[in-house]
C-alpha cells in the first residue's frame, strides 16, 4: 500500500503566547515546535498499516519554511520512508491555498491512502484534509477513531455528538485521524533517528492557491475575572448553591 501523511509543524501549546509586531501573528521568539498531536497519530496509524501490509511505503509531506524539515525528519525517524517539503514562507489561513498546494503534490502520487490529523492544534480549524480530498475527487472519511483497510476498501468509525457513526468507503481515499485511533504515537528510536538522516527528503516549491480568508488580527483573550474559593469541605456547599442561584443565576 502506498500511504501519504500530511503533517504540520506547530508551536508547543504549553507556551505563554505573545502577539507578533504585525498584530496578526503569533510571535515565534522562544517557542518550541513539534508535530501537531493529531498528525503524530496519523503517522503512527500509517506506520501500523504499513507494517500489516508488506511492501507498503509511507511518505510524509509538510508545507512551510525550512524549519518543517525537522518535523519531517521526526516522522522519518518514527519509520516513514520518504519526506517532501513544500516550501513556503508561511501557512496561509482558510485552508484552500494550502489544500491546492498539497493536492498538486498528491495528485500524481498514486497513493492508496492519504492521511491527515483531524485538526492542527495551533489553528484548530480542521479544514485542509477534507479540501484536499475534494480537490482530488477522492472519498473522504473525517475524524476517524477506527480505521481498517482490507483489499480495495476500508471501514471506520467516528464519534459524533451523542453517538458513533460506522463508515465504509472505497480506496483510494483521504482520511482525517482523531484521537483514539492509535493509543500513542511511537517515539523515534536512536536507530530510527540515525536512519532518518539518510532517508530522501525532497524540497519543492509549494504551488499555493489563493487564500480566500485572511487573518486580520490576533489578540490575547481577556483574562477570566479572578474567581474565589467559596470554602473548604462539604460545609461550603450551601454557600456555593446560594451563589449559583443569586449571583451566577445558573441554578
Amino acid at each position: 500500500m502506498k500511504i501519504a501523511v500530511c503533517i504540520k509543524r506547530v508551536p508547543d501549546m504549553g507556551a505563554r503566547f505573545k502577539i507578533g509586531a504585525d498584530g496578526a501573528s503569533i510571535d515565534e521568539t522562544g517557542l518550541k515546535f513539534d508535530m501537531s498531536d493529531f498528525d503524530e497519530w496519523a503517522v503512527e496509524a500509517a506506520l501500523q498499516l504499513a507494517e500489516k501490509n508488506a511492501g507498503s511505503t509511507v511518505t510524509v509531506i509538510s508545507l512551510g519554511p525550512d524549519a518543517v524539515q525537522e518535523t519531517i525528519r521526526k516522522a522519518l525517524a518514527m519509520g516513514a520512508d520518504a519526506g517532501v517539503q513544500l516550501k513556503a514562507d508561511g501557512v496561509p489561513a482558510g485552508g484552500l491555498a494550502v489544500a491546492e498546494a498539497l493536492a498538486a503534490e498528491l495528485r500524481e502520487g498514486g497513493y492508496d491512502l492519504i492521511l491527515f490529523g483531524r485538526v492542527a492544534v495551533d489553528t484548530a480549524a480542521g479544514i485542509t484534509g477534507v479540501m484536499v480530498a475534494e480537490l482530488l475527487g477522492l472519498p473522504c472519511a473525517t475524524a476517524l477513531s477506527k480505521l481498517e483497510v482490507a483489499g480495495g476498501s476500508a471501514t471506520g468509525e467516528r464519534q459524533i455528538e451523542g453517538g458513533t457513526e460506522s463508515l465504509s468507503f472505497p480506496l483510494p481515499a483521504v482520511c482525517t485521524i482523531d484521537q483514539g485511533l492509535v493509543t500513542q504515537a511511537r517515539y523515534p528510536s536512536l536507530k530510527g533517528i540515525m536512519a532518518a538522516k539518510k532517508k530522501p527528503l525532497a524540497v519543492k516549491p509549494a504551488a499555493l492557491g489563493q487564500a480566500g480568508v485572511t487573518i486580520a488580527k490576533m489578540e490575547l483573550p481577556a483574562e477570566r475575572a479572578a474567581g474565589r474559593i467559596v470554602g473548604e469541605g462539604a460545609d461550603a456547599v450551601p454557600e456555593l448553591v446560594r451563589l449559583l442561584q443569586t449571583e451566577a443565576k445558573v441554578l
Binding site: P11, M13, A24, D37, F38, A93, G94, V121, A124, A125, G126, T128, V130, A133, L135, C140, A141, T142, A143, Q159, I160, E161, G162, G163, T164, E165, S166, S168, F169, Q179, G180, A211, G212, V213, T214, I215, A216, K217, M218, E219, L220, P221, R224, G227, R228, I229, V230, G231, E232, G233, A234, A236, V237, L240, V241, L243, L244, A248, V250, L251
Partner: protein
C-alpha cells in the same frame, strides 16, 4: 445586499440547536446589508416539519431536502446539494454549525465553490463588505479575527457560542432535490450508534466533568448523579480519564477533545491542565471542586471548593436537587 445561506443539521428528524444559533448569526449579517437568509435542511422524509423553527429565528426561505437515505449523514450528497443551493442564492457567507456534520461539510463546500473556510467562529459580523469572524486558536490562548473581504466565506459556528435570537421571518418552505444521487455517494454511514437519549455535550446548558481525582472509574457515578440532579447536564471527562479507558474518548473535553461553552461547568477532581482548560475556558460560570488548593483549575474557576470530592459532591447533589425542587 448580502444573502446568507445556512446549512441546517437535523439528527433523527430533530433540528440541532446549533442550526438555530447559525441562523441567528446569519440573520444579523443579512440585516446589516438588507439581504435574505436561506437555509438548507437535510433529512429523511418528515424533517420538513422542523423548518418553521428556522423561520422563527430568522430564515426567510427554508429549502427542505428530504430523501430516505438522509436518515444518515451523507457528506457527498449534502455538499453537492449545498453547493448547488449556494449557486442559486449567491450568498456572501455560508454558515454551518461546527459539529462533526459541519466540520465535515464546510471544507467540501469551500473546495467546490473555491472559497476559504473560517472555522470554529464564536462571533460572526459584517464589517462593510467583509465577513469577519472571531476564532479561538492555540487552545484558546489566542483569538484570531479572520476576514473574507469581498468574497464568499464558509463559516463553521462553535456550538453554544451564539445566543439563539427571536427575529422571526417567513421561513417559506421550498422543496429541494439532492444535487447528487445518494446511492452514488462513496462514503457510506452504515450504522449510527447513539448514546441513548443522553444530552449531548455541545448542547447541554450544564456540563459536569470528572478527572483523576475520582480515583476509579466506578466513582464516576458521583459525577453522573450530580449531572442528573441538575436535570439539564451532560457528563464530560479529562484526557487522563479517557486515555485510561474510564470513559469513552467522545466524552473528553480539551485541546484534543470536545470544546464546550455551557452556562455552568462543574469540574470535579480535575487539576486544570492546559489540555483540559482549552476545552472549557469559555464556559460562562465555572465551579471547581478539588482537594489541592493550589490546583490550576482554581485560576479559571469562578467558584471553588477545596476538599474531598467524595464528601462534597454527594452534598452538592443533594443541595442542587433541593434547590430545583423548590422552584
Amino acid at each position: 445586499m448580502a444573502n446568507v445561506l445556512v446549512i441546517a443539521e437535523a439528527r433523527g428528524g430533530a433540528l440541532k440547536k446549533v442550526a438555530l444559533e447559525a441562523t441567528t448569526a446569519a440573520r444579523t449579517i443579512a440585516d446589516a446589508s438588507g439581504g435574505q437568509v436561506h437555509a438548507v435542511l437535510f433529512g429523511a422524509p418528515g424533517v420538513g416539519a422542523e423548518a418553521d423553527k428556522l423561520g422563527a429565528v430568522g430564515a426567510d426561505v427554508v429549502h427542505v431536502c428530504e430523501h430516505a437515505a438522509f436518515e444518515q449523514f451523507d457528506a457527498e450528497s449534502f455538499a453537492a446539494t449545498a453547493a448547488a443551493a449556494a449557486q442559486a442564492v449567491s450568498p456572501k457567507a455560508i454558515l454551518v454549525g461546527g459539529t462533526a456534520f459541519g466540520q465535515d461539510l464546510a471544507p467540501r463546500i469551500g473546495a467546490k465553490l473555491g472559497a476559504g473556510v473560517a472555522a470554529d467562529a464564536i462571533d460572526v459580523t459584517m464589517d462593510g463588505d467583509a465577513i469577519a469572524i472571531r476564532h479561538p486558536m492555540a487552545t484558546g490562548k489566542v483569538i484570531a479575527t479572520l476576514v473574507a473581504a469581498g468574497q464568499l466565506a464558509i463559516v463553521t459556528v462553535r456550538p453554544g457560542a451564539i445566543a439563539v435570537g427571536t427575529s422571526a421571518k417567513a421561513g417559506t418552505v421550498q422543496p429541494l432535490a439532492p444535487a447528487s444521487d445518494p446511492a452514488a455517494s462513496r462514503v457510506k454511514v452504515t450504522k449510527l450508534t447513539t448514546g441513548g437519549g443522553k444530552l449531548d455535550l455541545a448542547e447541554a446548558p450544564v456540563v459536569v466533568s470528572g478527572g483523576r481525582g475520582l480515583k476509579a472509574p466506578e466513582n464516576f457515578k458521583l459525577v453522573e448523579e450530580l449531572a442528573d440532579a441538575f436535570g439539564n447536564a451532560a457528563v464530560g471527562a479529562t484526557r487522563a480519564v479517557t486515555d485510561d479507558g474510564w470513559r469513552p474518548h467522545s466524552d473528553q473535553i480539551g485541546q484534543t477533545g470536545r470544546q464546550v461553552a455551557p452556562s455552568l461547568y462543574v469540574a470535579v477532581g480535575i487539576s486544570g491542565a492546559i489540555q483540559h482548560v482549552a476545552g472549557m475556558r469559555n464556559s460562562k460560570t465555572i465551579v471547581a471542586i478539588n482537594k489541592d488548593k493550589d490546583a490550576p483549575i482554581f485560576k479559571v474557576a469562578d467558584y471553588g471548593i477545596v476538599g474531598d470530592v467524595f464528601e462534597i459532591v454527594p452534598k452538592l447533589t443533594e443541595a442542587v436537587r433541593a434547590a430545583r425542587a423548590q422552584r
